[in-house]
């Protein structure tokens, strides 16, 4: 039986690394008495595949994983057992049975939506903030430095910014952005903030919170959740 799970990473769980999540979820599945299917070999592990790794410190309302069971169980029962087995850091949101083994989650997901709370060193008017965002959207290219195994390299990110908007709330500038993720490349929310600051000459914007609102599938200009596509 193949399952697709949607779960969130709560405030309590924001410091979990991807590896911590993997371990924590396996234990939750075991506590829920799910008949897990395992890989072969000296160190067998459950057959679980993840959508997109989430950075340490980032919370999320929409993470996904696919899970294989060695026998079928009623969905309602699985959901009920899982909910009570999840730790405070991770909470189950939805569950769906997959009827065919198709594209992997990591190949499917290509868009991540973030909310980023920032505090800018200059105080912005509504108009200035809007113009700054427009300037990002009307540019055609922006290069960021990334440190990889072979040293620094430059990566173009503008093409991976699908949407960007924002508003002012007290002293905070809150940004929402749809960014490219997955096998075709990744744009990090911090890089978008860096771009905003630099091309508008804002000095500095301190990021106080990053939250992933969800992971999506962008196909033919339509945005769907991984639960809506197989």
């Amino acid at each position: 039986m193949l399952l697709r799970l949607k779960y969130c990473k709560t405030q309590a769980g924001r410091f979990l690394s991807h590896l911590d999540q993997v371990r924590t979820l396996e234990r939750a599945f075991r506590r829920a008495k799910l008949p897990l299917a395992f890989s072969e070999g000296y160190n067998p592990h459950p057959k679980v595949s993840y959508g997109s790794a989430l950075a340490v410190g980032v919370t999320s309302d929409g993470e996904y994983l696919d899970l294989e069971l060695r026998e079928a169980l009623p969905l309602v029962k699985i959901k009920e057992q899982l909910i009570s087995s999840m730790p405070p850091a991770l909470q189950l949101l939805e569950i769906k049975e997959l009827h065919a083994r198709t594209v992997s989650l990591s190949a499917l997901i290509n868009l991540a939506r973030y909310r980023v709370d920032t505090i800018c060193s200059v105080s912005l008017t509504f108009r200035q903030a809007q113009e700054a965002i427009d300037k990002v959207l009307s540019s055609t290219q922006y290069l960021v430095d990334r440190r990889g195994k072979n040293g620094l390299r430059q990566v173009e990110i503008r093409a991976g910014i699908y949407a960007l908007h924002g508003w002012l709330e007290d002293s905070k500038w809150i940004l929402e952005m749809d960014l490219r993720t997955g096998s075709t490349g990744n744009v990090k929310p911090e890089e978008v903030v860096q771009m905003l600051v630099e091309i508008n000459g804002f000095g500095m914007c301190e990021i106080i919170r990053v939250h992933r609102k969800g992971l999506f599938v962008l196909r033919d200009k339509e945005i769907k959740t991984p639960l809506e596509v197989e």
Partner: protein, 636 residues
């Protein structure tokens, strides 16, 4: 509390390594209502989260206390240096993991003393908690600071800092202590009158309140005794021991950490104590007698623990698990039952004389863990001196068995600096490692494998410990230990053998604090003031600072570590009665020098160590293959 949590989560944790150490909120965490209980205790582990959370004693006491209606227990660990710095910069006091409450708010803080070189962390934690370090400087408004665990068997180096020590097995004593504190506070509208409270607590068996005892020295500074200063105070403190492990509390819903800890698995305590009688081993003396749990009990506990934690591995823990009477059927049955769920079984501390091929085959059915054995010494002569009853034949058989069963790696533990050691004994370590390697080569080549066997030889330095037959021994000098390490390093030059050794200077300080008396309190305090902490972490160990501190206090650590004792000497821990008699220990020491071994009472009858007679307890073994009533265990 919530505002403190917010500040820490938002402003401190994003900047420190492994923030999960300070977050709490794990699965199975217990958060009780502060105002609905009568007594609030904090369990303090003087090392980082990953080490502390691996400690079985903490798991037991945490849930034991929290299952009592009127009590709560929360946890705190030593913050790593980066976290400490951030906390000090922001003025954040040390806080509990459960509710982010300043540690000062608790009625009682209990430190566990697992090893001597964590003592500076205790002082640092009290200071971070804004609590005066010296017991006599803490007034009624501060929590009672208590300590227990193996190092409490020589409590004197910490006597200046602790209000009381628990001698023996905590699950026996702690509920009584908490009840007395709660009752004391109830009678005084929540207030504490420390001197009165300590007097009441000192009446509990197994409780040592150092304020009521004073060391007496003669003119040349030699200890003459530790005397009770009040008439109603017991002259000797007798350890507390769980008589029937079967009836003892064992937590079935332990906390499951988010980050990987040192022992990240179900810990099933199959037995307590060890009567093998290795003469250097403190645990083997102070945790007597041997008490096994029933096989059915263990199986039931395993089932519940797997379900409540979701772990994929069970560790059968004890001082010597392969000595459990029904070890093979237990391992086999557990694997049979849980193999489908890929639950692995690991056995720490295997003995080469009780490890069999069938056991080897069992434990690698699911996950193949590493194999570690501890011959401890390189020659039969020295193994007889230390009463490690294993032979070279045992080890070679085990090596053969393990390599045949598919292992290619093996770890061997040895000690250098043991009493009577000669070059020949050091050569023996290298020879033994080589022989095991050769056996491995032969077996692997024999089945056509081109894999190289890998042997790890880990060598620690002998530290004389209180309440052992070697408590009168001096340690080798630092220079000699280092020379021996180099000698072995040069002797073992083979790519297939990895040679590890421990920092000898650390072992020297460990000996000083293990054997030390109350005068070491001042050294400890000064070393902490000069910045010593996390001494057992090589990146934090500041040997030069320690040396300067000892000099400033007019002491020489080398002399203290090397000091030998005579039979009639008063030892700083003579007022602590752990059941095995001093006469027996001296007799064992004498036999050591005669290379005479002493049998295990499980097989060779009572050796009259004094534990069963002195403490009215019994060795409890489970008979193979038949149901035994808990009330009529096999008694030796």
């Amino acid at each position: 509390m919530e505002s403190l949590r917010q500040l820490i989560e938002d402003e401190i944790l994003p900047g420190v390594t492994k923030p999960l150490r300070y977050v709490g909120n794990e699965y199975n965490v217990v958060k009780k209502d502060w105002d609905s209980v009568k007594i609030r205790m904090l369990f303090a582990f003087p090392d980082i989260y990953e080490v502390g959370m691996s400690h079985l004693g903490m798991r037991i006491l945490y849930h034991l206390v929290n299952e009592q209606k009127d009590a709560l227990m929360e946890r705190v660990f030593a913050p790593w240096t980066d976290m400490e710095q951030a906390m000090r910069e922001k003025g954040v006091p040390l806080f509990s993991l459960e509710t982010y409450r300043p540690v000062r708010d608790f009625d009682c803080i209990g430190f566990t003393l697992q090893y001597e070189m964590s003592y500076t962390n205790i002082l640092n934690m009290l200071d971070l908690g804004k609590i005066p370090l010296l017991a006599r400087e803490r007034g009624n408004e501060y929590p009672l600071i208590i300590a227990g665990g193996p190092c409490a068997y020589n409590p004197e180096p910490l006597a200046d800092f602790m209000d009381l020590f628990v001698i023996g097995e905590g699950e026996e004593v702690l509920p009584e202590i908490l009840q007395v504190i709660a009752e004391h506070r109830r009678q005084r509208q929540g207030k504490m009158e420390k001197a009165d409270l300590l007097r009441a607590l000192a009446r509990i068996r197994g409780v040592y309140a150092p304020a009521f005892y004073e060391p007496v020295y003669c003119q040349n500074a030699v200890l003459q005794g530790i005397r009770a200063t009040e008439p109603n105070i017991a002259p000797r403190i007798v350890k507390r021991v769980v008589k029937d492990l079967e009836q003892a509390y064992f937590p079935l819903r332990p906390i499951v950490p988010y980050l990987e800890i040192v022992h990240d698995r179900v810990m099933l305590e199959v037995l307590r104590g060890c009567s093998r009688g290795c003469r250097f081993c403190q645990a083997g003396m102070v945790y007597r007698p041997v008490r096994e749990r029933k096989e059915e009990t263990l199986k039931a506990q395993a089932g519940e623990l797997l379900l409540s934690t979701g772990y994929n591995e069970i560790s059968l823990t004890s001082l010597s698990t392969s000595d459990y009477t029904g070890i093979e059927p237990l391992v086999k049955d557990l694997l049979d039952q849980y193999q489908r769920d890929t639950i692995g079984i690991s056995l720490p501390s295997l003995r080469v004389d009780s490890f069999s091929l069938s056991l080897a085959k069992q434990i690698q059915r699911v996950r193949k863990a590493g194999l570690t054995f501890a011959p401890e010494a390189g020659t039969q002569r020295l193994r007889d001196v230390i009463n490690k009853g294993v032979t070279e034949e045992n080890l070679m058989e085990v090596a053969e068995t393990a390599f045949r069963a598919g292992w290619t790696q093996m770890k061997l533990y040895f000690m250098i600096g043991l009493p009577t050691e000669t070059r020949e004994d050091l050569d023996g370590i290298a020879d033994l490692a080589r022989k095991v390697l050769d056996r491995g080569m032969k077996v692997l080549r024999g089945r056509g494998s081109f894999q190289q066997p890998k042997i790890t030889v880990s060598v620690s330095s002998f530290v004389p410990k209180p309440h052992t037959p070697f408590q009168w021994e001096g340690q080798d000098s630092l220079e000699l230990l280092r020379e021996k390490q180099q000698y072995l390093k040069n002797k073992i030059r083979d790519k297939r053998i990895t040679f590890n050794y421990h920092e000898a200077a650390l072992s020297m300080l460990e000996a000083v604090f293990a054997k030390g008396d109350r005068r070491l309190g001042a050294v400890l305090l000064e070393a902490w003031r000069r910045g010593c902490k996390f001494d057992s972490w090589s990146e934090c160990f500041r040997y030069e600072t320690w040396l300067e501190t000892f000099q400033a206090k007019g002491m020489e650590p080398g002399i203290l570590a090397q000091a030998t004792g005579k039979e009639e000497d008063v030892l700083p821990w003579d007022h602590i009665d752990m059941g095995v008699t001093k006469d027996y220990l001296w007799q064992e020491r004498t036999k050591a020098y005669q290379m005479a071994t002493t049998g295990d009472c499980r097989e060779h009858g009572c050796q009259e160590c004094g534990i069963c007679q002195g403490l009215d307890v019994q060795t409890v073994l489970q008979k193979k293959g038949e149901e035994k009533d808990a009330l009529t265990p096999q008694v030796l």
